[in-house]
C-alpha cells in the first residue's frame, strides 16, 4: 500500500516536472540526489567529480524527461543517465587503460566480509581500484550490465571487459584480506 502510494506520488511529481514546474523539479532532485551521488561516487575518483557528474546528469534528466513514457521505469532510467554521464566524464578524462588477461582464473571471494562493510569501506575499496577495473566492476556487478553491453559502451572487446572484471575481483580480494586482518587485529587489541 505504502509502495503503491509512493509510486503514485512519484508519477504525479514526474508529470509536474514535465510541465516545467521548478518546485517539483527541486523536490524530485532532493528525493533522489543522495542515492544518485552514491552511484556517481563509485565511478568517479573524488567527490568533486562525482558532484559534477550528478549535476550534468540531472540537467540531462530534466531536459529529456518528456521522453519518459512509463513512470514506473523512472528509477532505472535515472540510474542509467547517471552511469552514462559518469562514463562520458571518464572518457573525456581518458583515464581508462585496459589490458587483457591470458588466464581467466576467478578468485574465491569472501562474501561474509562484505556484509560487515560500511558505505565508507565500500567507497574506499572501489576507489583503490584502477579506473578500468572500477568501471567494469561497477557496470557488471552493481548495475547489472552484460559484458557485451560494457564492451559497446566503453568501446573495448568482450574479452577485455571480462579480463577487467577478473582483475578487479583479484584486487578486491587482496584488499578485503588486508581489511579483514586489520579488523581482526583491532578486535584483538
Amino acid at each position: 500500500m505504502q509502495i503503491k502510494y509512493i509510486k503514485v506520488e512519484t508519477a504525479r511529481l514526474i508529470e509536474r516536472c514535465k510541465e516545467g514546474d521548478r518546485q517539483a523539479q527541486k523536490l524530485l532532485y532532493e528525493n533522489n540526489a543522495d542515492q544518485m551521488l552514491g552511484i556517481c561516487r563509485r565511478y568517479m575518483k573524488n567527490i568533486h567529480d562525482a558532484e559534477d557528474a550528478l549535476m550534468r546528469g540531472f540537467v540531462k534528466l530534466f531536459n529529456k524527461l518528456h521522453k519518459l513514457e512509463d513512470p514506473t521505469k523512472f528509477s532505472f532510467w535515472m540510474r542509467r543517465i547517471m552511469v552514462n554521464e559518469c562514463l562520458m566524464q571518464l572518457r573525456k578524462k581518458k583515464k581508462m587503460s585496459m589490458t587483457e588477461l591470458t588466464d581467466y582464473v576467478v578468485p574465491a571471494l569472501d562474501n561474509q566480509v562484505v556484509d560487515k562493510l560500511s558505505a565508507d569501506d565500500i567507497i574506499k575499496l572501489v576507489d583503490a581500484l584502477p579506473t578500468g577495473y572500477r568501471t567494469v566492476f561497477n557496470m557488471y556487478v552493481i548495475e547489472g550490465f552484460k559484458h557485451k553491453e560494457i564492451a559497446e559502451q566503453l568501446n573495448i572487446s568482450v574479452n577485455t571487459s571480462k579480463s577487467q572484471l577478473i582483475m578487479a575481483r583479484r584486487r578486491l580480494q587482496e584488499q578485503l584480506i588486508a581489511l579483514d586482518s586489520d579488523t581482526l587485529n583491532n578486535q584483538a587489541k
Binding site: E30, A33, F62, L109, N111
Partner: protein, 112 residues
Amino acid sequence: MSSSNKFDSAFRKRAREIKIKPSPGVWDQIDQNISGRRKRTSLYTIIGIAASLLLLVGFFGLFQLEKTQNEVVATNYTVDEIVDANTSAYSNALMKWVNTSKEVGHAYRSEE
C-alpha cells in the same frame, strides 16, 4: 551459487545502499542550466494570468456599465412618474376649485 555470485550479490546490496548528501551548490547549478525551460514556462503562465485578469476586468466593467444604465432608466422613470403624478394632482385640484366656484356662483345667483 558460486563464491563469485555470492560475493557479487553481497557487494551489490551494500553498494546500492550508499547515499551521499550533495553540497547545496549542486542544485543551484542544475537550476541555472535548466533556466531556459523555466523562463518559457513562466512566460506562458504570466500571459495566461494576464489574459484571465483582462477577461475578468472586461466582464466586471461590462456588468457595471449595464447596471448603471438600468439605474439611469429607473431614475428617469421615477422622475417622470413624479412629474406625472404632480401634474395630475394639480389638475385635479384645479378642476375641484373650478367646480366649487361654479357651485358657489350658482348658489349666489339663486339667492338673487
